[in-house]
């Protein structure tokens, strides 16, 4: 895991909370005063359509915001899996939403991990926190930031008028981490 610079692309459809995952990583990086750059690229639809964002986290100045290959791709639906799976660096991680993507074809030379985030979120009682489930999975796989660092960012973002959502989002992060810990035992 190259700790000097991490490139992550998160993709899905409008309304899945794709942008929030990326922005939280950027906020966490800023808190730990690393260099970071987040940028979105989305279609016109606020719901449905395509939405993806990329975030670079680095110890030194960041040049190009755009990168050919990512260290990690997080794909939340099938179209984004198909589009971004080829963009994972050799030895990188492809983390995907198993609720919407069932046994997809897996590129060579990278770790491909599925997490049924919608199902987990529904079981937790709020389908909207599915994005935090995969955030938890990502943290467990990369240890890029501690859970506390991400929870601190979460509290900042869910400040004005959304405090009641903090606990369920934290539960979702924990559920994502547990899923990795549980399944890693079997898969590796």
């Amino acid at each position: 895991m190259n700790m000097n610079s991490q490139k992550v692309t998160i993709a899905g459809f409008g309304g899945q909370g794709v942008m929030m995952i990326g922005q939280m990583l950027a906020y966490a990086a800023t808190e730990e005063n690393m260099h970071t750059l987040w940028f979105p690229s989305y279609g016109p639809e606020t719901r449905g359509g395509t939405a993806n964002c990329s975030v670079t986290i680095s110890k030194k100045e960041i040049n190009s915001p755009v990168f050919a290959k990512a260290d990690t791709v997080i794909a939340l639906n099938l179209p984004s899996y198909m589009k971004f799976a080829p963009k994972v660096q050799q030895g990188g991680i492809l983390l995907y939403n198993e609720s919407l993507i069932t046994n997809p074809i897996q590129p060579e030379g990278i770790r491909v991990i599925g997490v049924p985030i919608n199902d987990i979120a529904i079981k937790l009682g709020n389908p909207k926190v599915a994005n935090m489930v995969i955030m938890g999975a990502y943290l467990e796989l990369t240890h890029l930031f501690s859970e506390e660092a991400i929870v601190k960012v979460l509290k900042k973002l869910l400040g004005k008028g959304k405090e009641h959502l903090i606990d369920i989002n934290i539960e979702a992060i924990k559920a994502g981490r547990e899923h990795i810990l549980k399944t890693r035992g079997q898969s590796c």
Binding site: P44, E45, T46, R47, G48, G49
Partner: protein, 250 residues
């Protein structure tokens, strides 16, 4: 033997609508498609898509379409209708497209009595650009450019578009309708059909204003949005026929 009571109209293509769940744009699209089919003019119509969430409506209506610059649909429609007078021409515009940047083009199309049908989806907000204040945003309504709620002192009063257009002598038919329950959807369809019929009878400019919803930018569920539209919007924007030149001739 079962009789089909309701099925998708041939006036719409098979392309899935890109609108958010529960957005009334979809309902208005269906009514237009059904009317084009019932009046048997699908292959005689030319629609003009504006700029806003409905910018991609040219993928959805099963007839020739042109996509106009923001606010210019009525001008584009004038150019089309004057060149193809036998075609049925309609514009599909939001309250920002027609009431804000396109108000001059719309008023002058009406003033000339252009024989076109203007469909106005009034959801009191800019949808595609992310929820900014529109000319029809209600007093007190919070949007991303009126975050403390629209105030009369700073932003003036919501624009009563049907009432304004009813003042224009050459406007032949202007009605404001709603979609907040099946009965009102059917009533709205009747109004829109009358507008298209007036166009076919060359009676001049017709406009139907649909009280519409924007669940995502209003921050409500689709059903809550319809309820809010019924209770808050209709109170300020009363439904009804504001101009019917048919009355004068009969």
């Amino acid at each position: 033997m079962n009789q089909i009571v309701y099925k998708k109209t041939k006036g719409l293509t098979d392309t899935e609508l890109s609108y958010c769940p529960g957005c009334t744009h979809g309902i208005i699209h269906k009514l237009i498609g059904e009317i084009l089919e019932e009046l048997n003019v699908i292959d005689r119509s030319i629609g003009v898509a504006s700029v806003g969430c409905s910018v991609f409506s040219y993928y959805y209506f099963n007839c020739d379409m042109q996509q106009a610059a923001h606010g210019r649909s009525c001008a584009v429609a004038t150019g089309i209708k004057r060149s193809r007078p036998d075609s049925i021409v309609f514009t599909y515009q939001g309250d920002g497209d027609l009431g804000s940047i396109g108000i001059a083009e719309a008023i002058h199309a009406a003033n000339r009595g252009e024989n076109i049908t203007v469909i106005l989806a009034n959801n009191a907000i800019y949808g595609m650009t992310g929820g900014q204040m529109a000319p029809t945003t209600l007093i007190g309504q919070k949007t991303t450019t009126s975050q403390a709620g629209r105030s009369e002192a700073l932003h003036g009063l919501p624009m009563k578009i049907s009432e304004i257009f009813a003042q224009i002598p050459k406007a032949a038919y202007v009605e404001r309708v709603s979609l907040h329950n099946p009965q009102h959807v059917l009533k709205a369809k009747k109004a829109l059909k009358k507008a298209f019929t007036y166009q076919m009878e060359k009676k001049g400019f017709t406009m139907i204003e649909f009280i519409s919803t924007c669940p995502v930018n209003w921050g409500m569920t689709p059903n809550e949005a319809l309820k809010w539209a019924k209770e808050s919007m209709i109170e300020y924007f009363p439904l009804g026929v504001y101009k019917d030149s048919g009355d004068e001739h009969e």
